[in-house]
Assembly symmetry: C2
Homo-oligomer: 348 residues x 2
């Protein structure tokens, strides 16, 4: 049993047959978790392995996943894991009109929140220059463990003129070349890639990302490379390599240089930061309508990153918004730097 | 209890207080394991942290560690982990004269075997063009858990004109700059680095390696990046970064290019190999005096890499030696490639 502003609820912490992790039970409402979407590394024969019917190609946005719904005490936003997110809850109304839930009280909006001023991701899509934006990519209904169809989704998005992810049309499993043409274009624009969604009852999905998005992941994460689960880099290098093969591209010196720089510069920046500040951290900044939402976020982050992992810097009013700044300290990277720079021995 | 050609022995499988892993008990003889030597990432203040007396700088050779000694049934070689090595045992006599053990029957020779034709390492120092070579860096005595002093070592090496590692003189903890000058020279020659050994009773040691050797490790290992323990790449990137800082070098595009290429080309080579052969492997080749030694090596490798991890290719007489060729299949990398290329989904 967990609680959020006094509201008690149950949270499903791991996938349980058809009930995804992050599903919550709130009073008499069940809000399904958002199911995992696997990453496809090879379109041919991957597409025909996975898709039994035509599929729609939607743009994948590099942000964090939220589910937004109407509760008794107002509109709420849940993170992927099923935690109430004070930031997303505070800001949901900027992107979703109340009228949507008035007409469809059972609706669950599934969306990505992305942008340079968000409290979770260090990176943001290049086309969002400030603050955040929200992009809807699915709807569910309370108590159900399935998505609305593409047609139903489109209808609601158009009815309320909602902000949603780009769609690039409908494809078949025998068109890997068309998908590559599309991702080649997205790659040039430093966009993340695609989510492919079968137009069928079973509604099967797969992600496919651009090499520039893998490079950007590596570039961002190398600052705290000792804190991430270890397959992180190896899997992304595999993604880049397999993508190149599939796109018929031969890696050139510029790609090698970018990959090497993405890895090494993070390490060197972390070193400089450690020498200057005694820790390796990232400063997050995000904007709230309500001061209490900012306090609630800090409290929640503190619980998830104990032992000083989160350090509030400031909370100040700017125009009509509260701007919170806080540091997230990367504990393992900080500790290892201290150890290495202090002359510690590495046994391998 | 283990056995080797009918000889039973006990093997210490983990460090146990002052008894290192790889120590063996053979009839009435105890052969100490070779203790771990930690890697130092920052000379200043690392040197003064670790060394309380002057230390000798020896060249570190990129090969595998053996201990060679006289048993009742002849000269034997043990691997780091305390396994009898049929290959090293077969070849030890090429580098160590019988006269050494006649005069010093209690001696344990600690050495690195390196070269392009060895059964364990995929990489070899650039200065060994074919076959293998052996470089002595320490002596121990049976039943003792300590090394002979530098003076005693030098005396025996000179007396028998033995092949040993280069030494570069004696340094103090306040001379990190001298050590960097030395490794800068080694780096230009693509040599691995140094082992620093305190000239004192406690005989403390630390390794310090060149950035080119870390790059070479990455270049070699990226072929089977999914098979290595995961800190492998991250730790080597840290080593390169911290070395650059200490040497006052600013990473340039050429270093970035080399690092990116080291990582990505292995992945692409693995892909090509998988498509052509259905597996990711390395072909080892090594030369024996005795045909039975080659069979014994294959048997031992099979036991350590079950489920077809080792596949013999050929064993043929060339001049007066038996030349064995075998493949080592990288199981996890092969499996993942099969999965990815078959269109499998990666959940992360």
């Amino acid at each position: 049993m967990e609680s959020y502003f006094g509201q008690k609820y149950l949270r499903v912490q791991d996938d349980l047959k058809h009930i995804p992790r992050g599903t919550i039970l709130l009073e008499d409402q069940i809000i399904s978790g958002y199911p995992h979407v696997g990453r496809i590394l090879t379109l041919n024969p991957g597409l025909s392995q996975h898709f039994q019917a035509p599929f729609i190609a939607e743009e994948k946005i590099d942000g964090y996943n939220v589910r937004i719904f109407q509760s008794e005490s107002g509109i709420k936003a849940l993170s992927r894991g099923g935690f109430f997110c004070p930031f997303s809850t505070d800001r949901a109304g900027d992107f979703i009109p109340d009228a949507l839930f008035k007409k469809y009280p059972d609706l669950i909006v599934c969306a990505e929140i992305a942008g340079p001023e968000n409290p979770y991701n260090l990176e943001a899509p290049p086309f969002i220059k400030s603050d955040i934006h929200l992009y809807i990519f699915d709807f569910m209904r309370k108590g159900k463990f399935e998505f609305l169809s593409q047609d139903e989704k489109k209808e609601i998005i158009e009815e309320f003129d909602l902000s949603s992810v780009n769609t690039f049309g409908i494809f078949n499993a025998d068109q890997p070349q068309k998908i590559i043409e599309l991702t080649e274009r997205l790659d040039k624009e430093n966009r993340e890639g695609l989510v492919l969604k079968e137009i069928s009852k079973r509604n099967h999905r797969a992600k496919f990302v651009t090499p520039n998005s893998s490079l950007e992941d590596i570039r961002t994460t190398s600052l705290f490379m000792h804190d991430v689960e270890n397959e992180y880099f190896v899997n992304r290098i595999s993604q880049i390599g397999l993508y190149m093969k599939e796109a018929g591209r031969i890696p050139d010196d510029e790609l090698y240089r970018q990959l090497g720089k993405a890895l090494l510069d993070g390490e060197l920046n972390a070193y400089e930061m450690y020498l200057k500040e005694g820790r390796v951290k990232h400063t997050f900044r995000c904007r709230f309508h309500g001061k209490n939402s900012a306090y609630a976020l800090i409290e929640q982050l503190n619980a998830r990153h104990p032992h000083g992992g989160i350090q509030k810097r400031s909370l100040e009013k700017e125009d009509d918004m509260w701007v919170l700044e806080f540091d997230r300290v990367f504990a393992k990277t900080t500790g290892l730097f201290g150890y290495f720079i202090g002359g510690g021995l590495l046994f391998d």
